[in-house]
């Protein structure tokens, strides 16, 4: 993106910031860093200063703009609801245009161009998570035609820590007798990381491919266990298929009595709203309705929940760009989880699980982190 375009797109939005500073109280980055550059107010001020020609693209601006989790809690708590993250992403797009960004970005872009996924593995390996699953049907969950496409997402497909999500979700769908398929090696990254890196124009190829594949399957519905894939499809894709997050779809299956809880789940749990599912897609009730429908399960809320839920620290590619900062945010999140006294923290996002349990493991904190699909599967029993 060029600077002129930045002005056209965002000057009016950013100019709504009155610098009141109320966002400082909520921003996960400022809470850890304690410096003005970390604040949403500061980010707005810098983007505005660039638009007005008062400041150039300094190295500090790069550091600043690449340190935002995209959680949008600042916008949620801002009087004029300034869309700071839009300014941040547009700023990153300008930086990308000038090849001024963290080195790791090139590696990810290369992986996406070569493998169509964010890992270094070939895309055929997208289904390796099935190796650990018993009773996999002959078609390996890959059918030519199906009512529903389950879009697995790169992280859940490739990262061992969270492969339990597709493993659990396909079993839930199977047990509920849903006619579904995955796209296997034909599933390409949704493009979310490119948006975060300010390279949205590079995602078109991915979008078109995925849209076409869903069309070929004649699917009426596409289901996502990844909130970021879900949000990206909702915002950037053009499809006639209905787009649902796994929590919305499972809620429907419960209402249709296709999901039945034979076992229940006798534990006190708290629920963490993933930013891209909760605040950014406004899906707050389905996960709670699911949890409340499970016999024996007691749901307790964190001090900050729903619209005000604190980010885990893993959003906006931050874990990739600044792992230390991401971990410091996760530490605070874990404190808030522990304050509820819950035995398990349930969420519905592979990235949140990675950030939270990754930190807990490293620091040997006894914390059980589960995806909602796992909880549902366990509660369904045989």
């Amino acid at each position: 993106m060029k600077q002129e375009e930045l002005k056209t797109l965002l000057y009016d939005e950013i100019a709504k910031c009155n610098r009141c500073g109320f966002c400082l109280a909520h921003c996960p980055i400022y809470t850890i860093m304690g410096r003005e550059w970390a604040t949403p107010r500061g980010k707005n001020a810098l983007v505005r200063a660039i638009i007005e020609g008062k400041i150039g693209w300094t190295p500090e601006i790069e550091d600043t703009l690449f340190r935002c989790t995209g959680c949008r809690l600042c916008t949620q708590t801002c009087f004029p609801a300034v869309e700071t993250n839009q300014g941040v992403l547009a700023g990153r797009a300008c930086l990308a245009d000038m090849h001024q960004y963290p080195k790791i970005v090139d590696r990810v872009v290369e992986a996406l161009e070569n493998n169509f996924n964010i890992s270094d593995e070939p895309n055929e390996d997208r289904t390796l998570w099935m190796d650990f699953l018993k009773n996999v049907p002959e078609h390996m969950y890959q059918k030519e035609k199906a009512e529903v496409v389950y879009f697995v997402g790169c992280v859940a497909a490739f990262f061992p820590l969270v492969q339990k999500i597709p493993q659990a979700f396909v079993q839930v769908l199977d047990k509920s007798k849903v006619d579904f398929t995955i796209l296997g090696g034909e599933e390409w990254c949704c493009g979310f990381p490119l948006i975060q890196m300010g390279m949205e124009e590079k995602m078109q190829k991915l979008v078109e491919h995925n849209q076409e594949k869903v069309k070929q399957v004649s699917a009426k519905t596409v289901v996502f266990a990844c909130p970021s894939c879900f949000h990206t499809w909702k915002e950037k894709y053009n499809t006639n298929a209905e787009l649902l997050h796994s929590t919305q779809y499972m809620e429907r299956l419960i209402n249709e009595k296709k999901i039945v809880f034979n076992n229940g789940f006798n534990k006190t749990v708290t629920y963490h709203d993933p930013c891209d599912l909760g605040r950014n897609s406004k899906v707050f009730d389905p996960p709670r309705n699911i949890l409340n429908a499970i016999p024996g399960l007691k749901l307790v809320e964190m001090a900050n929940n729903r619209q005000l839920c604190n980010c885990c620290g893993g959003g906006g590619d931050l874990e990739m760009i600044d792992p230390e900062l991401s971990a410091a945010i996760a530490e605070r999140k874990i404190q808030e989880i522990q304050d509820t006294g819950a035995e398990v923290v349930v969420t519905s996002c592979q990235q949140c699980i990675r950030t939270i349990s990754g930190y807990a493991r490293k620091k040997e904190i006894d914390l059980k982190v589960m995806d909602i699909t796992e909880v549902v599967l366990e509660a369904m029993g045989s």
């Binding site: 009141c20 410096r35 003005e36 001020a45 009087f79 004029p80």
Partner: protein
Amino acid sequence: MDREKMVEELVKLVGKENVLSSETDLYLYGYDASLFRGKPDCIVLPGSTEEVSKIVKFAHEAGVHVVGRGSGTNLSGGTIPTQGGIVVHFSRMNRILEIDIENQRAVVEPGVFTLALKNALARYGYVYQPDPASEKVSTFGGNFGENSGGPHCLKYGVTTNHILGAEVVLYNGDVVHVGGKTLDNPGYDLTGVLVGSEGTLGIATKLILRIMPKPEAVKTMLAIYNTLEDAGKTVSAIIGDGIVPATLEMLDRLTIKAVEESIHAGFPLDAEAVLIIELDGLKDGMERLAERIMEICKKNNVREVKAAKTEAERMQLWAGRKGAFGAIARLRPNYLVCDGTVPRTKLPEVLTKVMEVGRKYDLSIANVFHAGDGNLHPLILFDERNEEELRKVHLAGSEIMKLCAEAGGTISGEHGIGTEKKKEMLFVFTPQDIGAMKKVKMAFDPEDIYNPGKVLPEIQE
């Protein structure tokens, strides 16, 4: 002193990571929530009183100015480094040092957010009373400097009534203690002098606060009026009757409209004004007091008065008040919050004149304010990028202050003077009065190290 040398010396005192001096950082510490701008020479983030003392001692010896800063939420330009120097940002000194329930005291560092202490106190059933609108992020250092207020200050008093003592770093780096944990301290009341001095006399590094048990019961009412005058008369009549509600807030027509469009708090769109009246204290007698207030409202031609029956209804009424700034902020890109105080009895008359000022400059003005203590907050709507409009906003703001002063009030209720209202000080003080204040400044900071160019206007001596 050249900047490189300054940074080098400061790095020795607090470490490299706690000194900021890039062009980007200098830009970012040049603003606060006001309309003013400045540029510091560098920014330092101390971690202890000892470090603050060393920084100030260094600044004093080098003849460099020092400006303290918390969250930079202040509305009068108090934290703008108008003459350069070192900005001391207190975000690292954010520990609650002590909560002593039996003696009803808390001790905090200056970087603690007001609400963070309140949250910590809630588990004991205790509260720190002052509640500035920015409490979720305003720091105690800032509250100390600005003598912050808030809706509940009608009954409980402003910040100065809740700060009993402080550890203060003087202009030369010396650390002194003023006041203490007891209510009445011998010697001069230096705490009283320092609270509200806007960082021009010293920097607080520890604060001793008064905390109180949470009131047993709360009752919140909404009174709806067809005229501003009747609403204003009600305010005077309630206080005149000897009742001191916990809060007594007023919203005018433009505010009501904006609130209803964005949050639906249940305010009627055709009303000219609403009052939000809240009582707190012992359960016994509260109903009787509420009835008395309702009677007073009726005598003053209230259209309707209703009491919140549940906590949810109460929260909804407050959502309307607390969301008012937000709702108004959506009408135009920017707003200036004016801050003036008038005798309660003059409220209707001054409000009418405020609206005339708006018409004169062709600016929209919305009013949402602490009516109980006569603290007006006219919000002037504009677009900061429009220079002509910005110029008119400054003129209108000043004219509104003049109105307040002429009505027997004053030019600030809680936001301070800072950079914004220095010349308006002469609306309410004579040059002799200002001269007396200058002597205090000279006593505390003879070399003008701290926050230069703030609060006091230039006068002919």
